[in-house]
Amino acid sequence: MLDEPQEQAEGSLTVYVISEHSSLLPQDRMSYIGPKRTAVVRGMMHREAFNIIGRRIVQVAQAMSLTEDVLAAALADHLPEDKWSAEKRRPLKSSLGYEITFSLLNPDPKSHDVHWDIEGAVRRYVQPFLNALSAAGNFSVDSQILYYAMLGVNPRFDSASSSYYLDMHNLPHVINPVESRLGSSAASLYPVLNFLLYVPELAHSPLYIQDKDGAPVATNAFHSPRWGGIMVYNVDSKAYNASALPVRVEVDMVRVMEVFLAQLRLLFGIAQPQVPPKCLLSGPKSEGLMTWELDRLLWARSVENLATATTTLTSLAQLLGKISNIVIKDDVASEVYRAVAAIQKSAEELASGHLASAFVASQEAVTSSERAFFDPSLLHLLYFPDDQKDCLFFCPISQHSTLVH
């Protein structure tokens, strides 16, 4: 609706204030948030509008500054039960890169001959989304088809709708038996996000997922925090009448990719924003990601990285205080210095609003601090504690002294 000509730098935001009676916005809407770092606000009573907006901006700046509360909130997922914990535990922890695997599970290849155009779907829908997110890390995408892979749970039969259903309580038990077949990526160190498309076997078709009220879920899919998502794709029963088994099934990739991309957004921590009342939120562009969402993700990840790096270095310092036997070699010391320098640089960049360079610096800080903390050379003298050394010295001395007397 609003044409945004200029490309803006990351971390910046442009707010247009229009007059109260302007027809740019629909009559009942007071504000509009665009997909590319712009917003339009209908200003009531001229100067007042600027004051209100100014106060809001100060509030936002305070919320985003690097204070102890902000850093503690970034690590809130470590706390046992908190009102933030469910939201915090869902996204993947910050890492240098991610691997995304799409798997098609066909437990009954005798009945269903399933084809999916995953290459086209990845090219059209997933790759643009990941390209938009490329500032947040390296992504690699894979896909595979697994045959004879069953879910670990037997679905129950519902005679009212003559279909099978999976109860919400059964869902946590579904993932474990399947995971052994998924082939955890041995060749890379990045965390893996798995998206499974399950075509239920002929004996258990159609299969629906029920939520806690007993109603079938609209998308027939669920996701598990920090792991991935599973969608159940039911074969149209009309396809069985025509031909003999196996029935050829062409998967509708649009429906599937809608669900998977929405789950991907949630698993990356791109949360639904809380839209204020009377505000019009524009839809995302064709990539499925609004630019200011990317900024928000970069800021959140930078803060999380800084919190992690700081905690790691603090733990190392505390450990050194308690155990005097730890050896710190020169290269470990240089990693620690590098981590501290990166933390300071990232904090400065965050303060001046350069999100991309702050994120890169924060990643470097995490890498250096982990390399220093987990270096195996720290443990070389660890199993030679002081009391054993004292025993070795005091025993001969005590013998000597008794002999003298």
Partner: protein
Amino acid sequence: MAAAMPLALFVLLLLGPSGWCLADPQRDSLREELVITPLPSGDVAATFQFRTRWDSELQREGVSHYRLFPKALGQLISKYSLRELHLSFTQGFWRTRYWGPPFLQAPSGAELWVWFQDTVTDVDKSWKELSNVLSGIFCASLNFIDSTNTVTPTASFKPLGLANDTDHYFLRYAVLPREVVCTENLTPWKKLLPCSSKAGLSVLLKADRLFHTSYHSQAVHIRPVCRNARCTSISWELRQTLSVVFDAFITGQGKKDWSLFRMFSRTLTEPCPLASESRVYVDITNYNQDNETLEVNPPPTTTYQDVILGTRKTYAIYDLLDTAMINNSRNLNIQLKWKRPPENGYIHYQPAQDRLQPHLLEMLIQLPANSVTKVSIQFERALLKWTEYTPDPNHGFYVSPSVLSALVPSMVAANPVDWEESPLFNSLFPVSDGSNYFVRLYTEPLLVNLPTPDFSMPYNVICLTCTVVAVCYGSFYNLLTRTFHIEEPRTGGLAKRLANLIRRIRGVPPL
């Protein structure tokens, strides 16, 4: 925790047409095969081969899509720029003298040899990382492969697939003879199969029967091959092979009839729907139907003849994709039965059971003339409990002598014996006909000197324990019960002392 939330979906603006998707051409194919070979010694060898061919380019960049070819191995090929990979796990040794030449032999333990692409800059670093990753995939200790057991052969390990030029700098070979093969290695190997032990030939792969064999070898081979006869393009080929030899005595209890159920405790129920070819070949070269020495059930409809490993062989073919052979109501259980016992003779063997019965080995053999026949048997004595030793254990342990009973052909025909008339030395053994006579010979008994435990140890332990207890107890008792009295110093001479002594004896108070 799983959360099934109704997701608020975004409407994606789709660029380009979405609905029409062409049927993707099949880019990989699977063939599976089982070869059953009866061996001259009465044992049976079974060799499984699962071949997946993946028609794609040699260098995989970007997004990879896997169907039948397993993702774990595909990622290895692209990450470490492999050209060929050969990995085998073997338990036992293939006895060529008794069993004939093998299709593919592997050394005992684990063997890994890899050809890298010539784009690899640091081959040793890639080799180290690859062996670590493989040890994770196959649950084996391949991470012990390092420069101390890796070599670069220059002549014997040429690439088995396509190769343009062979610079031996890119070849690495390592063997770990200490590696033991067990179910933990078989399970990830089976997981790489597309039909994954649920259909086709892989239902026969049950670990408890496969490891109850004299020889077990499982291997993974990856190499590039030509896609067609003119070799215009290249495909990846993955072969998974498994060879086992079932022993006639351990598995078959001495009887010489084999069936799929006897060997694997399973029968074939259905073909793998993903396989383009699924066949069982039975070697019937040495036995033809006229002779009726070997019976194969169900009778084969097609046979295959070729020169294999230098000799002409005939195989009976059972095609699992043929619905006449196998369908929903019939299982396929191939049976082999020897009608007439082979000329090796009769062997009866009864293994020992600890503290119940000894070994018994009886053999009926025909000795050729002017020859020397040596029979040897290996046995172990288990350690005895210390109460089971004889009073003179250092004398040694006896092994009973062997018995040779023979009917020796006689030079001169003898008359049948009249028991009462003939002398006693002539009527020891009954003689059935005059052409041979019975003789029973014995070997010397064997006296084996085995290490014995130190029988004085119980005595030593008792002495030491009693001493320690006595010293501790005595000191403690002293501490608790000793009291001190003050004694007056004695005065007076010898006479007074004697008088006191007498008075004490009489019971009278002293002076």
